[in-house]
């Protein structure tokens, strides 16, 4: 956009400003406190106001008619509506202006309801005075409002899904089945995320594991021609905005190509090992490994952090599938919408927290789930330190509810259910095991409440604490000391196995994620929804949607729901050819711009660039599709050359001055 005057439909001659002021009663919501008549009479005397009227409900059909007729009759070119705030009815009244032949952006709404009558009802006089001030300020601002051209941009009808866990897979499948092209970018070498490692799930009447669900989704996704899967890949750059993103993806070398038959000969000769992250640190894996049996892609991978590149695997590979010289590649994707299904990290207790890391008898819930999984390191047999444990103590809320100095303040939602399910699993498998559930609270919400009652029926012993229990690790002995808060007695439980019921945390790379995609985080560190209730799968940035545990702890079922919801939201964007965007973007007055570049450095969206003019001088240029309309460039510009539409200095400063023009 340039500084030259644009011919805008419905624009008015600016030489004479003719303002109409409409004060709404909102039934008695406003008129029950504020003397509306007095406000209207006051407004009539303000400079440039040619008409001021009141009505019981301005938003009703007769109210709208009144404004429409007035605009035509009084030849208005600015409209002020003193009623509720702009959130609810700005679109309503903008439409009224348009229907009356005015540009929709010469409207100013002032909230005398939320801002005065509803909060100063005990002092009607002060509320009326405040309403008059507010109307005067709105008129001052409206005087300099300018007609704006509606803006729209092209929509690339493809989606990027970041994260190939259960939520990302659900999103991908839904979008692909609706006919949209989908690109899944997964950081790990295989799809499935944490869900694939979660063992048995609480599904009434059926034996279902997390892996079964992942396998089902992966099969459907990989067979769908609309889906492109990139594993061992990371997004490194995000350009563009809603409807039109350009994504740069780094494909990390896998060193093993798809000729791999998973014969495993390479693993036998590999001389180096690392803790197996796919078993949550139980046991080890080699530098060349298959993350887990039946993973997709079912293809070995070399972890370059561990590998010494000795070449022994290359020698034994019968298929010649290993190439240690493989280089990183880069691809770009053009998409209209993005779903972030970037998941969580399990809480990792620091060494010494409840004895963690001091004894093999203290493990986390995630590790227990692996031990009890049939595809786990012990094929589902619970063996600790070579023996089967008899006394098993779960300690709940490890890393949650502020139970330790290191813990998060929030409840992690799924851990109570997940751990009671495993407690029952143990009881069923080893009826002689004694299981204690040492808890602060039991939050088996919703349908999972059956787990709690089942656990009671199966003699899981519930021990409640107010003060966090103490775990002492002696010579081969582990004891849990806890003050039982119901019976108010100190219990000392000798434990063969202590299971720390660990919750979920934002992933370590969340900071990089949020700055890469320009999305916000909440106080808990997870990605933030645009609105917790109304827009739970949308981010605050247009065209970016959120699924699964990216926004906070969720069960597998809830993650799938969120994945499908994000896909539905994305689909409603992707099914359009173009989208309309608010034109409250920054514009540059090239005559004033000195090309200093301060705005370029301050813009959070990279929407401003410096351009060389014919005479060799530099000026700022704004990409109106990238600009999100925050206006911070306007506050930083030393020569007021860059201004935000509808929030220009000439619109805000008169509003400030009007406060005192009583």
């Amino acid at each position: 956009m340039s500084s030259e005057e644009v011919k805008v439909e419905g624009a008015c001659p600016t030489d004479e400003v003719r303002i109409g002021v409409y004060v709404c009663h909102c039934g008695l919501n406003i008129a029950g406190v504020i003397n509306v008549k007095e406000v209207v009479e006051y407004a009539q005397k303000l400079p440039n106001v040619v008409s001021a009227k009141e009505y019981i409900f301005m938003c009703s059909a007769p109210g709208q008619d009144l404004i429409r007729e007035d605009i035509k009759k009084c030849k208005l070119n600015r409209v002020v509506i003193a009623a509720c705030g702009p959130e609810m009815h700005e679109p309503t009244f903008r439409a009224v202006l348009e229907e009356a032949g005015l540009n929709p952006y010469v409207l100013e709404m002032v909230s005398i309801r939320e801002g005065s009558s509803w909060v100063h009802y005990e002092d009607p006089e002060a509320a009326t005075e405040k309403a008059k001030d507010m109307v005067r300020m709105a008129v001052a601002r409206a005087r300099n409002l300018e007609p704006l051209e509606k803006m729209s941009g092209e929509v690339k009808q493809r989606a990027l899904i970041v994260g190939g866990g259960i939520a990302g897979l659900a999103s991908a499948l839904d979008l692909a089945e609706r006919g949209f092209e989908v690109h899944i970018v997964e950081k790990k070498p295989v799809l499935g995320g944490h869900a694939a490692r979660m063992g048995q799930l609480n599904v009434e009447g059926r034996k279902v594991s997390g892996k079964d669900l992942v396998d089902y989704l992966v099969k459907k996704v990989k067979d769908n021609p609309n889906v492109h899967i990139y594993t061992n890949a990371e997004v490194t750059k995000v350009d563009g905005s809603i409807g039109n993103f350009t994504i740069t993806v780094k494909l990390k070398p896998r060193y093993v190509n798809d000729k791999c038959t998973s014969c495993g000969k390479c693993v036998e000769v590999c001389p180096v090992t690392a803790p197996n992250e796919y078993e949550y640190g139980i046991g080890e894996r080699k530098a060349i490994f298959l993350p887990f049996e039946g993973a997709y892609p079912n293809q070995y991978v070399i972890d370059p952090e561990t590998c010494t590149f000795c070449g022994k695997c290359v020698e034994v590979c019968p298929e010649g599938a290993i190439n240690l010289d493989e280089k990183e590649k880069e691809i770009t994707l053009e998409v209209g919408g993005i779903i972030l299904a970037t998941g969580h990290d399990p809480y990792e207790p620091p060494v010494g927290e409840y004895g963690y890391g001091l004894s093999p008898k203290v493990i986390t819930l995630h590790q227990l789930k692996r031990l009890l999984s049939e595809d786990g390191p012990t094929k589902g047999e619970l063996v600790i330190d070579g023996k089967r444990p008899r006394n098993i103590v779960f300690i709940s809320c490890v890393g949650s509810l502020g139970t330790t100095p290191n813990a998060n303040q929030y409840c992690s939602r799924m851990c109570c259910s997940a751990s009671l399910l495993e407690a029952l699993h143990i009881k069923e498998k080893y009826p002689d095991a004694q299981v204690f559930f040492v808890h602060k609270d039991v939050r088996t919400y919703g349908k999972d409440e059956n787990l709690y009652w089942k656990a009671i029926d199966n003699l899981v012993k519930f021990v409640r604490f107010e003060e966090s229990p103490k775990v002492t690790v002696g010579k081969g002995e582990v004891k849990v000391e806890v003050e039982e808060s119901t019976i108010q007695e100190r219990l000392v439980i000798p434990a063969d196995l202590v299971v720390l019921v660990t919750g979920m945390e934002p992933p370590k790379e969340i900071e990089e994620l949020r700055s890469l995609f320009k999305v916000g985080c909440g106080g808990d560190g997870f990605l933030k929804e645009a609105h917790l209730k109304l827009n739970p799968v949308e981010s605050l940035t247009g065209g970016i949607y959120l699924a699964g545990t990216a926004t906070g702890p969720k069960s597998i079922a809830e993650s799938i729901v969120a994945g499908s919801a994000a896909a539905a939201k994305a689909a409603s964007l992707l099914s359009k050819d173009t989208i309309e965007v608010e034109p409250i973007v920054a514009v540059v007055d090239e005559d004033k711009c000195s090309g200093c570049g301060i705005c370029v450095s301050i813009c959070p969206y990279g929407a401003i660039s410096l351009e060389k003019k014919e005479d060799g001088t530099r000026v700022s240029k704004v990409d109106p599709m990238l600009c999100q309309g925050c206006g911070t460039c306007g506050a930083a510009c030393p020569s007021a050359a860059i201004q935000q539409n509808s929030y220009k200095d000439k619109q805000i400063i008169p509003q400030i001055l009007a406060v005192f023009e009583r």
Binding site: G85, G115, G631, T632, A635, I656, V659, F660
Partner: protein, 146 residues
């Protein structure tokens, strides 16, 4: 609003659309009470608040100015509020050099859910400024670059 006894201060508030302005709305829908001394100017982001706006407000008769936005890390526009923070830290010093008491200028982070905080901040600020009396900047011995 008169001077001297029964002095009622005027506080100009710059509120960001996404957090503080929504908190003000929430205070309204929750029928919370607070002193009617505030005059709110809505901007899309607190990062839009040019220090010049604050000076203009004081120069023209404001007894106090409040700049309020989203909590750090919660900005709708990635980090606009951090820019507000930087600018206002400098501005605070400048205002104090001009002889404007520090209670008269405040920067607050008030989220869309924090209607209670909005009420508390405004109530406290009005009380403090009421005690200080009118600012009357023009009458003070202040060198201003007019």
């Amino acid at each position: 609003m008169s001077d001297g006894d029964g002095f009622e201060p005027t506080i100009v508030v710059f509120a960001c659309h996404w957090c503080t302005y929504q908190a003000i709305n929430l205070a309204g829908t929750s029928r919370m009470k607070y002193p009617p001394n505030v005059r709110v100017i809505r901007v899309m982001c607190s990062g839009r608040v040019d220090p010049q706006f604050v000076i203009e407000a004081f120069k023209n008769g404001a007894d106090g100015v409040l700049v309020a936005g989203c909590h750090p890390g919660d900005c709708h526009y990635v980090n606009g509020n951090m820019k507000t923070m930087r600018r206002t830290v400098m501005l605070e010093k400048l205002l104090q050099d001009m002889g404007i008491e520090k209670e008269r200028f405040r920067r607050e982070w008030i989220s869309a859910a924090e209607a209670k905080k909005w009420v508390e901040v405004v109530t406290e600020m009005v009380e403090q400024v009421r005690k200080l009396g009118p600012l009357k900047l023009a009458e003070r011995e202040v060198v201003m670059n007019e």
